[in-house]
Symmetry: D2
Subunit: 346 residues, 4 copies
């Protein structure tokens, strides 16, 4: 009963099989291999974006920070939600990769940026000439850090704010599969058709061993990106092993199947939490449940060996009710979910 | 009637005279000259800090950002007030000089950090392991960006929070003279005796042409600082001309005399604002008045050619009452102050 | 017959098996898992360095650049051979990770730094005060970029030069296994016993999919290294998959067995090159042969489908004799080697 | 008899007068003042470049490094002479301001880059794909670090190499006035007409207190430069005091008069060195003499109190003959020159 993170599970069998498959004979390194070409094409197909530039890296932090470095200047302001992963969980990687940009964080219900608040903040940022630096980039996370999902219309509204100011829009899609599975739309609808310029398409939280795709929908925005990837140590000599992971997930729709599985179990957990007298802190729209539960339910769960984090303060034992985060993943079993629900119910 | 900034005036006659004085004959460059040695000694004397390391630069942004780069790591969190100059007005210089540190901004009445809020924020910053980077530096501004002044006790309380966490405390003293003049204490009392580790001792806003001193009270904290200054282009070959400016201000107490003059005029302006039906937005403790005034008073002042900024939004014409900032400087004349007061009164 | 690089082959079966083995059930992420602990211990054992700090990353460039950033200041000078990988093949990664250090490159026969030339260069670098920055780090590659190997005595001599100046010594060990296998000494003898402070212990060129260990022999030198790794996007959430690769190679001596295999085949190739009328450009001491061969031999080899690079200029067709580089790897077959030798012989 | 550097003298009386002149009344800060506008116009006139963007900073290192950061990417290669100031004397400022670019240094007789050697090096740099980074910028110094001068034709030849590769050409003109005075051509002929894209037009070594102009001949290349200047702490609030210095030098041709004076004295020193049995190490074309002199002549000069550096190794006493550098400046007196000549002659 491990609901700590979608990082705690390993790699999906299909991913392992793909790694084994491509481990056969010598190929040219650094991406000049057929598996990389196929994986790039599969991503472009999944996004209906034939001109997109696709590159693979091993971690989500690398993907996000490389995009920030590519699209925002050293003296830029990057607008994001105050709970955004790039702000809270990347140890200053965006600042490092840009060489000094400033993250401007905004509140927003359930982890989502609001166009009005963004417009206001951007206006204030630009009001003082050189002093505050220049507005550089807008970054949103879909599915968000609170498990909620931006709809295509919501993305469009933010893209309009960004583009009206001449700024690009980045989507951190560490849980992009969960968002698309939840929305039931096409991946294109919630990305480039809605105005997203760069997408970090996550694999690691959805069954990969460690693989993410960076996608620039407009090839002009990808100019010289490979130098940045190389200079930061994120070009793999045996690149095929990154590509193969994404290929296994994307080629045949497995990514949406796995994400749908995790989403469904989170929805089921939400029911169980409610039945146990808990309350949701945010709508459950993807693979995470943020809720408060009665102390007794928490005590029973811990007693039974369930693993999950208190939230947002992992060390805040003793609260009543108890705020928790439950995350499901592609490998979470229905049995574990039902077991936890039963324990919570007491 | 120019109350726009303490940067709009030129250099004090004593500063000009000092520059002429030291322009005589050849000396070794890059600081190996007698004027630099005398100026360093004068600063150490003024601060009663015989072991302090003193270095001169030409701008306040350089001084602050160099200290941030010296004392906070690339992956550090620098805590400051949300209206701090290093956050709002340095175009990301602290981020650039550190190579990627993150400024964590906090609210605080009238521009001053509160120990409790700081403690809370530092605790949250450190709670999540590597994710958020490590706590790196505390920075306060004295006099603050709202014209208020930290007392020695208030500085001590913040220093205790910093030092308990193993962090240094930086004081941005662009208006340090105004703070000391207002407090009536010794410069030592409100700096190293209260726990300040590094001070940016401003000259430019107090009669210099362009000169600031960076002071490290503990020489160990200044290790290899000269390399940072050199690498950022802030070592002057004809260094004596920076040093002479600070020497002229500090050697004979001129710095406090000038600051006292500006402070006194600001206090007088505060009275005038009140008499004209205005309200102070912050206590007037140094050389700036933040207030709202009736639209008619504002109209009369503009009509009479008075120059000052609307605040904080310089372009927010049409508000009722009108929020304004009035700044006095060492060269502000009593006549101008009385003239403005008369105009405001109608 | 692919002798292009030791990166063109895939992963060794033992590595693949180790990945499968550790893909079982949920573990805590970011290195807090038992496989990581075992792999770190195995590296420490192999190096007879019980106090060493060991960390895993996925690429050699990341390993080297992170060490540079850890050990050299932003204003530092990093001394290395002019053909060093950190100079020629990392797209400025050391400069980026340090935030601006300068690589000072030196000649040296067959890819190896000479103590006298290093001493001279360090002296010149330090002679001009702040102007040239400060001496920061010495970096050597073992086995070198020309396939030669530093003996423990040679490493000691360079370490003495470094330590006398207060600088640390870094060993880029992308082909460390080949060096140790060639020397027949213990891994400790050619590293910490000889004065090496930080080692990049390569796995990728020796059968791993993509894994390198960064080793700091003195734990003090590793202080806060994890922040740097995180901030550059090189901390894997599913860290066990990096660790497992190194564990498979190191735990049971496989690393030396594989490297010995590659070294032996290179020695055999050297004989074949000589027999075909070629001349060695450097002694063949590890898994690479740098040589010139007659144009006819080159033509026959290309005709037969042999893959290798012209060297150092990959596009320099038409030279007589033809300068080439042949690299063997853990998966190179004796049959391929004998086939190439036969073709070269004509 | 101080021939150590053109930095050891102070400021020219005309510069001091200009500072006093502009210290009158309040003006808007940060460059929005009439003196700055006039000084920018004067520079554009002197260069016959009406569209040029002109900005002022206080040090030559700042000027050069800001241009490098503006024109070369983080992953770029900057080609310069191995004795270039940006390589030897700026403590890694170009690397810092670019965020990690690599300076590629080339030999070249008497301090001057040769087109063929540059072409070769650029070709090698680009030959290895991502590995070596991308070619980014060419930088030359005029007058050079060896006192020699590039003619318009020589600059054109290098510009052609740069532009054929799509790279901009930077001229470090710390001693630009000496070069133009020596050439007797127009300033335009040896800059933009010859293909220079960015010029650092020095004032400090030619009578300013501390002032340099950065000039971008093509305004597109200056885009967002002001943010870089601000973020590095090089925007002065009382900007007029930088501008006034350059204005005093440039407006009425004083810059060329002063440089001509210094050049003439250097030529006279060269005669004296020859008469004393010395030999020139480089042609004397501007305001520096690099020569060897007999030990007895050196001993007499030191005895007489003459100040100059041994070169290039300032501490290399005891050589025979003695390699020295003599620098003249705008304030060097004919009497001092003749006195040294007499002493050398014995």
């Amino acid at each position: 009963m491990n609901f700590a993170s979608d990082n705690t599970y390993g790699a999906h069998p299909a991913v392992m099989a793909a790694l084994a498959d491509c481990n056969d004979g010598a190929v040219m390194g650094y991406g000049a291999d057929p598996v990389t070409a196929r994986a790039e094409a599969a991503i472009r197909d999944a996004l209906e974006a034939p001109r997109a530039v696709v590159r693979f890296v091993a971690t989500g932090t690398a993907a996000n920070a490389l995009v920030c470095g590519q699209l925002a200047p050293r003296y830029g302001r990057i607008y994001c939600h105050r709970d955004a992963h790039i702000e809270t969980s990347e140890c200053g990687a965006p600042e490092f990769f840009t060489g000094g940009a400033k993250l401007v964080t905004l509140p927003g219900e359930h982890g989502k940026l609001q166009p009005e608040a963004l417009t206001d903040a951007m206006w204030r940022g630009a009001a003082d000439g050189l002093n505050g630096g220049r507005n550089g980039l807008i970054s949103i996370t879909n599915a968000s850090e609170w498990g909620t999902v931006y709809t295509p219309d919501e993305v469009s509204a933010l893209a309009r704010v960004a583009h009206d100011a001449g700024l690009p829009l980045h989507m951190d899609g560490a849980r992009f599969a969960n968002a698309v599975a939840a929305l039931g739309c096409s991946a294109a609808d919630v990305t480039w058709r809605a105005g997203v310029d760069a997408l970090c398409f996550g694999g690691t939280k959805n069954g990969a061993m460690g693989a993410e795709a960076v996608v620039f929908f407009n090839p002009d925005l990808a100019e010289e990106f490979d130098y940045r990837r190389k200079q930061s140590g994120h070009v793999f000599s045996k690149q095929r092993f990154l590509a193969a992971q994404m290929l296994a997930l994307v080629e045949n729709g497995l990514w949406l199947e796995l994400a749908g599985h995790a989403n469904g179990l989170a929805a089921r957990l939400a029911e169980g939490v409610a039945a146990a007298g808990g309350s949701l802190l945010a709508p459950v729209q993807s693979n995470a449940v943020f809720a408060t539960i009665p102390p007794e339910a928490h005590a029973r769960a811990k007693q039974a060996g369930a693993i999950y984090y208190l939230w947002p303060d992992k060390s805040a034992e003793g609260l009543d009710p108890v705020p928790i985060r439950l995350v499901t993943a592609c490998d979470t079993s229905e049995a574990d979910v039902e077991a936890l629900i039963a324990v919570l119910a007491g």
